[in-house]
């Protein structure tokens, strides 16, 4: 496949259809600028700022855009909030739809048949493979991203974080907790 991709890049470059420097810039964007730290900041702000939290519920695209996270595969955002009663899980059974603007590029497992096939029929089995076992009474809501809405899970704020600032809280927010295959990390007891 390496040779096949190189051939394609050579042909398209020779024809003036693509600029290798543009490819470099795209790769650099998703390696260094757009990734799950964006989403973590959104979640942390939602935890400390009730006004932002309400805005995120009402119009996630605008609220997230106010932190300058926008653009490709984040044009139409929807935030879904975990509660004590309901846990949210996001999948794209039909392809690999994922909120790039806040989470960056999706991990391989998110795009692969095991996750895409099972998340909608056996979410508890899937979550167990992420070492996440939810109480039996907890409802699970799976969001299949079949259209152009991109879903960001807002995990529950961990106990023992009273008085933490946004920056500290963002450190607890993992990528998986914003897909729903994890929870926010619990702070280590000092």
């Amino acid at each position: 496949m390496a040779a096949r991709v190189r051939a394609l890049e050579t042909i398209l470059t020779e024809k003036g259809l693509v600029d290798p420097k543009a490819i470099d810039a795209i790769v650099e964007t998703y390696e260094t600028k757009v990734g799950p730290r964006n989403g973590a900041r959104v979640v942390a702000k939602a935890w400390v700022d009730p006004e932002f939290n309400a805005w995120l519920k009402r119009d996630a695209t605008a609220a997230i855009g106010s932190l300058s996270y926008s653009g490709r595969q984040g044009e139409h955002m929807q935030a879904v909030f975990n509660t004590d009663e309901t846990h949210n899980l996001v999948v794209c059974t039909l392809c690999s739809c994922y909120p790039w603007s806040v989470l960056g590029l999706p991990p391989v497992w998110y795009k692969s048949p095991p996750y895409r096939s099972r998340a909608v029929i056996d979410p508890r089995g899937v979550l167990a493979e992420f070492d996440l076992v939810l109480p039996e009474a907890t409802s699970i809501r799976v969001w299949d991203s079949t259209a152009e809405l991109r879903y960001l899970v807002i995990p529950l704020r961990p106990e023992g974080t009273d008085g933490w600032n946004e920056e500290q809280l963002a450190e607890l927010v993992t990528r998986d907790s914003m897909i729903g295959t994890g929870l926010a990390r619990v702070p280590e007891v000092a």
Binding site: V5, R6, P114, V120, T146, L149
Partner: protein, 219 residues
């Protein structure tokens, strides 16, 4: 189409196996495949729906034995050939053998940041009033087009409830085939697991899809 991409509820693919501290890319060529797919898409001769349809039109055996960047690359070759930008002879020779279709535009390095930041919004105004309201009981249609659709098989002919109306969006079913954007309202429709999976379904589970208006009828 009932293609290899329509995975919801399929079995036999094994465990998820999440990779710890997964890198963004697993090989240098994956970076180029990502960049090429986005840069070639920016030429503007096909849309995201046609891209998705090219990927799901790979032979199932090919689709399931390919990584996602391989799927992207194979579909990109198909799109470039279909739109007259490259030929089989060129792919075989790994060099350009002459001019192809004149591109509408190309993506320059200095414009990458602004193009990615702008994205490709696909919400569109719809002139008529929405047919469904939040709380409506609806039934998804049961159809099996050989063409592109975003109504997964597991959610066809099922009873659900409209939870939200999301506004008007480009209809992939026609847009993927060059038949126009035909925007329709999109609704989030939620189903109880036993409506979809029947016996043995997880009683605590609900599943939602985002459905274009023509995927639904009043129940």
């Amino acid at each position: 189409m009932n293609g290899p991409q329509d995975l919801g509820g399929q079995m036999g693919f094994g465990p998820v196996n999440p990779e710890k501290d997964e890198p963004y890319f697993h090989a240098a060529w994956e970076k180029r495949a990502l960049g090429l797919t986005l840069a070639a898409g920016a030429i503007g001769h096909w849309n995201i729906d046609e891209s998705r349809h090219a990927r799901e039109s790979l032979h199932p055996a090919d689709y399931y034995s390919s990584s996602y960047y391989e799927i992207w690359t194979k579909a990109l070759e198909i799109l470039l050939k279909r739109h007259g930008f490259v030929t089989d002879a060129e792919l075989k020779d790994a060099h350009s053998l002459g001019k192809g279709t004149e591109p509408k535009r190309t993506l320059k390095a200095e414009n990458v940041a602004s193009v990615l930041a702008k994205g490709g919004p696909c919400d569109r105004p719809v002139e008529v009033a929405p047919r469904f309201q939040v709380g409506d009981h609806v039934k998804t249609r049961n159809f099996n087009p050989e063409t592109h659709t975003r109504l997964p098989r597991y959610a066809r002919g099922k009873m659900g409830i409209v939870e939200a109306m999301r506004g008007g969006f480009v209809l992939p079913d026609s847009n993927a085939h060059g038949e126009g954007e035909n925007p329709q309202y999109v609704y989030t429709v939620v189903f109880k697991a036993d409506e979809i999976w029947g016996e043995g379904a997880d009683p605590t589970l609900t599943v939602s899809i985002d459905a274009w208006e023509s995927y639904l009828e009043l129940a």
